[in-house]
Subunit: 93 residues, 4 copies
């Protein structure tokens, strides 16, 4: 049971669509499509993955982190540090 | 015949690996794995897609753009403007 | 009194260093230094600004958001939504 | 004499405006302004720096790289590899 559990089906749907985008990229390369067109489609897939990350992070803050903070103590600090580390990875990827 | 044609198999292999990563993400969500672990794996997939983009762009500059520039004229200008637009999308995605 | 108040001097010091980097960029352009060298220094300034953002966000989560969450209610929800919006802007900039 | 020489004044003007933005950030921190507002202004400065990078890179491709490619040989290859490395740094910063 995690932050995203309530929206699990929506997240799975988005990830399946991204899988389809990545398969589409393979077809484009197989068919020797124009580099710039492939790049445009990769940007679309990257943005879609990033949007999933932001959605998961939002749920994580609202549920897991908020709950830990409400309980307080070491777990709260740990969760907050962990969230910051995840945000840092997200910003730098 | 495009910039990436010579490395087509290598690019396809990388895209198939990324497809596997996106399927792995679906399994993680299905199994209710911890949000932060899902986020870490999304960052890995995003970075892999970005690396494919940078690889394609490198080939595009070395082949399509370099050839257009060597020929000169309007096509050269067009290809350079198109490359800059693709780089801008890449930086902002 | 905000999340970063305790580290205010450290944040100011980092921002003054970034101001110096931006003035250094102006000198490089005035002296017609090589484009690639200017780009390298802009990347350094951009990363430094990003690090300040991540630092401020960390303090914001640990203080402002954590306090609102501990109090609960609408303010908590508002603060969480606001933090997510800021993270989204940060990831996309 | 570099790619950006013709637009030198415009680039300097943009960098001076960014310097002003960074000084504005210092005032915001000194006045204990709200974290989220500071973050919003940092995003604006980061985007402005990124736009300068993209502008310089565009000029670099159109002038330095295009000229090297027109001349051909090792210098052309070197300039292309150098441009790709700069784009990579830009994408990852």
């Amino acid at each position: 049971m995690h932050g995203y559990t309530a929206d699990k089906d929506a997240f799975l749907k988005r990830l399946r669509r991204i899988e389809g985008q990545v398969r589409g990229l393979q077809r484009m390369v197989e068919n020797d499509e124009y580099c710039i067109d492939v790049l445009t489609q990769i940007s679309a897939a990257t943005k879609a993955l990033q949007a999933v990350s932001l959605g998961l992070l939002d749920e994580h803050l609202k549920h897991c982190v908020a709950q830990a903070v409400a309980e307080g103590g070491d777990v709260a600090e740990e969760k907050l540090a962990e969230a910051t580390a995840a945000i840092t990875r997200l910003v730098r990827s």
